[in-house]
């Protein structure tokens, strides 16, 4: 049986206050007031399922070499492309070796758990698999789903052997129960009555799958230490646990208060959150619901030597957002006056993108084999004025370099979906520098000397051709104070 060798998580930094959402919308729907508590994770304008997948995967990978993966599986129902493999973008951004099987899993809230089962099978058969689930969710303004949803991603490395949590077993069922659907080309979900979803859906479809899995693995329900069932309806997981004999204390927090439901990613988000808190010997039962049910049972066999940011770290690093209008703008839920400067054509020459894919998607620069100078971008002639060697450069990835702000500005003139545009020269400790866009910063929160890390984001969105142009930006390094000076 395969196991989980590592985990990572990513919840975007902004947490939209539900009170702010309700304050803006309860005039039309007073019933929303019942949902005015807590915050939901809100992706920045430059984040999507692919960029969040990359962040979660980086957290999961740590310093592990990027070679040797047999497959990368990406689960999402909100990935940016219908036809251009989203998993392939993640592989390119992470610089995983090219001889790798890649797959997008989609079209159900169960994509996260179904993808995880497939990824575990692949790991058992073929070696290490990087699994990522990510969602940037969309809902119409002013409805309950907007309040319940959240954006986020989680990632696992699956390998033959026990790892830190071995797979005890898994089981699935397929039932064409349409609690909601999103047809081809539709912007939003269309859903049915909650009471029916609870009584005929969750409570009838989930328990038999879990019961069968527990039975066939010889697991006493009382031995389940962590029960992960994403569900936005109240007390469904507790009811199912009671029905099966699982202790109510084992029912995991759905993270509704500080994150919201991250859709197909949420079962994996909850699993990673459980792994962060579990101790050796704990059994973790994970269920995913959506046109049937998936169930996976893990037994924790150890802890990670390092401590990833994970879900716990991400949740702790949030910044409250009380400006609902900003959320509407970031998610293209309202027509915004962008100004004439936004009209510049943003067509991406696909041949250039392909030729420069390592540079643009993986932030690979150059290192001179003659003088050791590191530079971005890579070039035929070394930039070091005292070297000038020709054809001397090998690939030098910059993505994991630690940087500091050398100069910066906050620009109110140039078009950006989130003005003012922050950018500046970032200088890397390992050498090299680049004039980079900044993201995840606040006005007044940037200064010379501030520690930065590079993150994969949407640089610009070509609205004419519906094409996100990805590149890397600099974001404050977590744990470093905004005003940290160069030491």
């Amino acid at each position: 049986m395969p196991g989980i060798a590592s985990y990572g998580g990513y919840i975007p930094r902004l947490r939209l206050s539900r009170h702010a959402i309700v304050a803006a919308n309860s005039w039309a729907n007073p019933a929303l007031k019942a949902h005015a508590k807590g915050e939901r994770a809100m992706g920045n304008w430059d984040e999507d399922a692919v960029t969040m997948a990359v962040e979660a995967a980086r957290d999961c990978l740590g310093e592990r070499p990027r070679e040797g993966f047999a497959a990368l599986v990406l689960a999402s129902t909100t990935a940016p492309f219908d036809d251009r493999q989203n998993a392939g973008i993640v592989v390119q951004a992470l610089r995983l070796a090219g001889a790798i099987n890649t797959m997008d899993v989609s079209a159900s809230q169960r994509a996260g758990t179904s993808g995880l089962i497939a990824a575990l099978d692949a790991a058992a058969a073929r070696g290490p698999v990087l699994f990522v689930a990510a969602e940037k969710r969309r809902a119409p303004a002013g409805g309950v789903p907007e309040l319940q949803m959240g954006d986020g991603a989680a990632s696992l490395i699956l390998e033959p052997g026990d790892g830190i949590a071995r797979l005890v077993g898994s089981r699935s069922s397929s039932v064409d129960f349409v609690d909601h659907y999103r047809g081809h080309g539709s912007e939003f979900d269309y859903g049915w009555e909650e009471r029916w979803i609870r009584d005929e859906g969750y409570l009838k479809i989930v328990p038999p799958v879990l019961a069968a899995l527990l039975a066939e693995t010889g697991t006493a329900p009382g031995a389940v230490a962590h029960f992960c069932l994403p569900c936005t309806l109240p007390r469904v997981a507790q009811t199912i646990a009671k029905q099966l004999g699982i202790a109510e204390s084992a029912v995991r927090d759905t993270l509704a208060a500080g994150c919201g439901d991250t859709g197909a990613a949420h079962a994996v988000v909850m699993l990673v959150h459980a792994l962060e808190q579990a101790k050796s010997g704990d059994r973790i039962l994970v269920a995913g619901f959506g046109q049937g049910c998936d169930a996976l049972l893990f037994e924790v066999t150890g802890n990670l030597a390092r401590k990833p940011r994970g879900i716990t770290g991400s949740l702790a690093a949030g910044r409250s957002e009380t400006n609902y209008a900003r959320y509407l703008a970031f998610n293209d839920l309202v027509k915004i006056e962008k100004g004439l400067r936004a009209e510049v054509d943003k067509q991406t020459p696909l041949s250039t993108l392909y030729r420069k894919r390592d540079m643009l998607l993986a932030l690979v620069g150059g290192r001179c084999e003659r003088c050791g100078t590191v530079q971005f971008p890579k070039s035929k002639i070394c930039v070091n004025p005292n070297c000038g060697a020709r054809h001397s450069q090998i690939d030098q990835p910059f993505a994991e370099f630690a940087g500091r702000v050398m100069s910066y500005t906050a620009d109110n003139l140039t078009y950006t979906p989130d003005p003012p545009a922050h950018y500046g020269m970032v200088q890397f400790a390992e050498g090299g520098r680049m004039m980079a866009d900044f993201t995840d910063v606040d006005v007044g929160g940037v200064d010379v000397g501030m520690a930065m890390r590079m993150v994969f984001r949407i640089k610009e969105f070509d609205t004419q051709r519906n094409f996100p142009r990805y590149f890397w930006k600099a974001a404050p390094t977590p744990g470093h104070s905004a005003a940290a000076k160069e030491s």
Partner: protein, 401 residues
């Protein structure tokens, strides 16, 4: 061994259109306006001009490519006409072409004309445009003010200045240029302002406020050059010659190599050194009578005072606040209002600066004439961004100086 350009080329005539929001004009109207003044000043006919250079930087916004727009506008008689572009230093590039043509002996009389018609974009500031296919895919989303604003952050960090002191120096620069511009009938902005107004203005790109940024204007400027001998033979006296003409272009070191600290212009320092050598200047603070620099933003002018080796490193704020660069100071800087107030029609700007120095040398600058008769003036014309730019430096002076 190359001997440089010193005193090999004389300015025969110059012209400059009124700069500003010329809603009534096409680019060719502006070209003719500058050209007619230059022709009359030079005292020649179009038939005497043997070669011409046209500078435009944002040609897609008005005339389009090639030398044809200039040849058509001026009805040049099938002579060589070349269009040049080198960011905001394009005007100096046209001047360099014409000057070198005369200095080489390839022609007796040559023309340089720079023109930009920028006010047909529908918005204020420079037009937002493509920066090249690959550049657009990885360059930060920087604007002109945003890239130059970073000088302030790096300068402040390097010299341990607090924000308010740096802003005070920058504000004085803008107040001074508005004072000067108020005396210039061709200037785009002729209103006087106060330091309080500068500091209270809305931020464009931190820490640059509205008054820290130059105007974006329509306009054209023109030079007709020849040899000093021909100028004299045409009855000219008080001949003004080119003493130095230097250009330094970034090669990626500032943008990619950690040897530049972001607080100064590497190109300006190199071009200035070469220009002083070419002109035989050893003590620029004592030997220059006045200067026209590329004050696209107040902070650019500030750091340029040090890059030109006139103010000591870290000493520009003090010199500026002491009035050293005011119109009645030791070395007036932007006595015509500069880019800030005369205006900045990109392709014309380098030639406009030379125009001002030329007028000042001849005592023809009217209400803004420097009181002590100037001997040598310096023109600093920069294009691009602090981390990647082209810098042209021209030194213009009385023949024999």
């Amino acid at each position: 061994m190359a001997s440089g350009i010193r005193d090999k080329v004389a300015i025969l005539g110059m012209g400059c259109s009124k700069f500003g929001e010329r809603w009534d004009c096409e680019a060719d109207d502006l070209m003719v306006e500058a050209y007619e003044e230059a022709l009359e000043d030079a005292g020649v006919e179009t038939s005497r001009i043997e070669a011409a250079w046209l500078a435009t930087a944002i040609e897609e916004q008005h005339v389009g490519k090639s030398g044809v727009p200039l040849a058509v506008a001026l009805r040049l008689p099938y002579i060589p006409v070349t269009r040049v572009e080198n960011y905001c230093a394009s005007g100096s590039e046209a001047f360099r072409g014409a000057t070198y043509a005369v200095a080489s002996g390839a022609c007796d009389i040559a023309l340089a004309l720079g023109c930009e018609k920028l006010k047909d974009t529908g918005y204020g500031g420079l037009p937002q445009r493509s920066r090249g296919a690959l550049n657009s895919m990885y360059w930060a989303n920087f604007s002109a003010p945003g890239s130059f604003a970073q000088l302030a952050a790096a300068y402040r960090a390097k010299h341990g200045l607090d924000r308010a002191d740096l802003k005070a120096g920058m504000a004085h620069i803008s107040v001074k240029s508005h004072d000067n511009g108020s005396r210039n009938p061709k200037a785009h902005l002729r209103n006087k302002i106060t330091a309080e107004a500068v500091l209270a203005a809305p931020l464009i790109a931190e820490p640059l406020g509205l008054f820290d940024c130059c105007g974006v204007s329509d306009g054209a400027a023109c030079a007709i050059v020849t040899t000093p001998e021909i100028a004299r033979s045409m009855g000219k006296h008080d001949i003004v010659t080119v003493k130095a003409l230097q250009l330094a272009v970034s090669n990626g070191t500032e943008a990619q190599h950690n040897s530049w600290d972001g607080s100064y212009f590497a190109t300006t320092r190199i071009a200035a050194k070469r220009a002083y050598h070419e002109a035989g200047i050893t003590r620029p603070r004592d030997e220059l009578s006045l200067i026209e620099v590329h004050d696209c933003f107040s902070v650019t002018e500030l750091v340029t005072m040090e890059d030109l080796a006139i103010s000591p490193e870290g000493g520009a704020v003090k010199d500026v606040l002491d009035g050293f660069y005011d119109a009645d100071g030791a070395i007036p800087c932007q006595i015509d209002g500069g880019l800030k107030c005369f205006g900045h029609p990109i392709g014309a700007s380098g030639l406009r600066m030379i125009y001002e120095i030329y007028l000042q040398m001849q005592g023809r600058a009217g209400a803004r004439q420097r009181q002590t008769a100037p001997i040598r003036g310096l023109v600093h014309n920069l294009g691009g961004f602090p981390h990647q730019n082209v810098c042209s430096i021209a030194i213009i002076g009385r023949q024999g100086a």
